[in-house]
């Protein structure tokens, strides 16, 4: 991996009452690329990105963002650095309008300038295809639309790193296609870290893949390398000769 790293972890470990969710994870996120994090259920993927975003405190180990150790920063400070995070379990402001949901996300950056804010929100909603639903209450949206709204809330922050925790879960086939196109449109400008179960999405979007198993890194590389890795085939994809 020759690409310049934007984020790196060294020996990142999380222990829940003696149970190890993540053990010594050394991970590198190349700038401007799409990196997918895959692994079976319970492999520790969500715990790991939780420790990156500051949502979950790490037991030990270090997180470096653009070369700087951010261990001591609380979640909101990390987000302010440019790390956007979408929740695995949909977490929008259910009582507020779609527009206001995205506006809350944008306001921290856009400040008090109402017209600039509206333009920014409008653009993000257009990118995910929610423009016509801007005035609806977010809680009334279908599950798929709420997932897409989560993505818009991340996009509008124009993050340096965009962490997406199972974004296509519950989306229809056509929505998944739109999502793949959206990720493609971010290429180069935004670094994407994608947790994903849908292998076709992973294979079509990711530049690099890291495989977690039992809380540790099992393999990493390009999609072709990972696909060819015998350990991965045995542990995750499943092969007859495994």
């Amino acid at each position: 991996m020759a690409a310049v790293e934007i984020l790196k972890t060294v020996g990142l470990t999380k222990t829940y009452a003696g149970l190890k969710a993540n053990t010594d994870v050394n991970f590198v996120l190349p700038r401007g690329k799409v990196t997918a994090l895959i692994g079976p259920n319970g492999a520790g993927k969500s715990t790991f990105v939780g420790m990156l975003s500051g949502r979950t405190p790490a037991t030990s180990g270090d997180v470096f963002f653009e070369g700087r150790n951010i261990n001591a920063l609380p979640a909101h400070k990390r987000i302010q650095l440019g790390i956007a995070y979408t929740f695995q379990i949909t977490s929008v402001f259910a009582g507020l309008s779609v527009h206001e949901n995205v506006a809350v996300a944008a306001r921290r950056i856009a400040g008090g300038d109402q017209s600039a804010l509206n333009a920014r929100v409008g653009e993000a909603l257009a990118r995910v295809g929610l423009s016509e639903r801007a005035d609806q209450i977010a809680g009334d949206l279908s599950y798929g639309h709420q997932r897409v709204l989560e993505i818009a809330m991340g996009l509008v922050q124009a993050p340096k790193i965009f962490i997406l925790d199972e974004p296509t879960q519950g989306l229809s086939d056509s929505e998944v296609e739109d999502f793949i196109a959206l990720i493609g449109s971010l290429a180069g400008e935004t670094t994407v870290l994608l947790i994903e179960h849908n292998m076709s999405v992973v294979m079509r979007t990711a530049d690099f893949i890291t495989v977690l198993n039992n809380g540790s890194v099992l393999a990493r590389g390009t999609p072709e390398q990972v696909r060819a890795d015998r350990h991965v085939q045995a542990a995750y994809l499943g092969t007859p000769d495994a």
């Binding site: 909101h76 302010q80 507020l96 809350v104 996300a105």
Partner: protein, 315 residues
């Protein structure tokens, strides 16, 4: 959007215009009631910022109301301050108290926050009793009519009292109308709706909640100071838990998280007790029944139901 965004402003100025004009048509008894209602509505509005907009249920706001009241009362009787600087002392005392208690209590959330605020307010009440030599404890003290003058105007007069209450109300009402639609207020609403999400959008939610607590406490203190100034009495009753529950009730009745709700809630509750106590000595039974019915059929309060059913733009 532009047509809709004008409606809230029209509502705000319409309400103020009505309150201003009502003095001219109301009989003295009801004008006096309305003056009291407006001051108590200021208290309810301060409470509403924290409870209705930020989603923090405090059971200790009587302490801030009383801090404003005693801040004004003691500085007038003890230091001989005139009403305007004494009012500033009252608001300052409430601001300080809310900053300290917010700093400590915001480490907790939910039920624990209720208990901690309640506990501090009870401690505040006991402090007032403990220093009975100065505060006159339960019995309280009167601020002499001769001292309640601003620029030669006797605030105990009907018109002066009404319009002083009106100005206090208008300033807080306009300030909050602006605040809840400004980025700060919008962020508070987001925190109420989903604090964790707001945090993961890069907001320091603890700091926002502390600021909301301080503004809420300052407004409650302004109400307490205004009450003492206009009605001339300072007493420990206003620091009891009952006066922490009142604003919660008013706001729930009128509509939590609505601008007009606190005024509606105080008005309704005031006249509910006023009218029912004229009918029977068991007036709390009637009041209680009305409250139960309202909770059953309008759980979001008057203004909350209106917003849900008719006017979605209600701020």
């Amino acid at each position: 959007m532009t047509g809709k965004s004008r409606a809230p402003n029209l509502m705000v100025f319409g309400v103020l215009l009505c309150l201003g004009l009502l003095f001219l048509v109301l009989p003295a008894y009801h004008a006096g009631n309305l003056a009291r209602i407006m001051v108590l509505a200021v208290y309810a509005m301060g409470y509403n910022l924290l409870f209705g907009y930020t989603g923090l249920l405090s059971l200790g706001h009587a302490m801030f109301f009383a801090a404003g009241m005693y801040g004004l009362g003691l500085s007038m009787t003890g230091w001989g301050l005139s009403p305007v600087p004494a009012f500033a002392v009252g608001v300052g005392a409430a601001t300080l108290a809310s900053a300290i208690i917010g700093f400590l209590a915001l480490r907790t959330r939910g039920v624990a926050f209720m208990i901690v605020t309640l506990m501090f307010a009870q401690a505040g009440y006991l402090v007032i009793l403990y220093f009975g030599a100065y505060t006159r404890g339960d019995e309280g003290f009167v601020i002499q009519q001769a001292d309640r003058m601003i620029a030669g105007i006797d605030l105990s007069g009907d018109a002066a009292r009404y319009f002083t209450a009106f100005i206090l109300f208008a300033v807080c009402f306009l300030g909050l109308a602006w605040l809840v639609r400004a980025p700060f207020g919008r962020t508070l609403i987001a925190i109420r709706e989903n604090e964790e999400r707001a945090q993961m959008l890069g907001y320091d939610t603890t700091m926002y909640k502390l600021r909301a607590m301080i503004v809420s406490g300052a407004i409650s203190g302004a109400a307490g100071a205004g009450y003492a100034l206009l009605f001339g009495y300072v007493g420990a009753t206003f620091a009891t838990v009952q006066y922490s529950i009142f604003p919660l009730l008013w706001v729930l009745l009128g509509g939590a998280g609505t601008l007009i709700g606190p005024l509606v809630g105080v008005f309704f509750m005031f006249y509910l007790i006023d009218i029912s106590s004229a009918v029977t000595s068991a007036y709390m039974l009637i009041a209680g029944l009305a409250l139960v019915l309202l909770t059953l059929f309008a759980p979001q309060g008057f203004a909350g139901e209106l917003r849900k059913r008719v006017f979605a733009w209600l701020p």
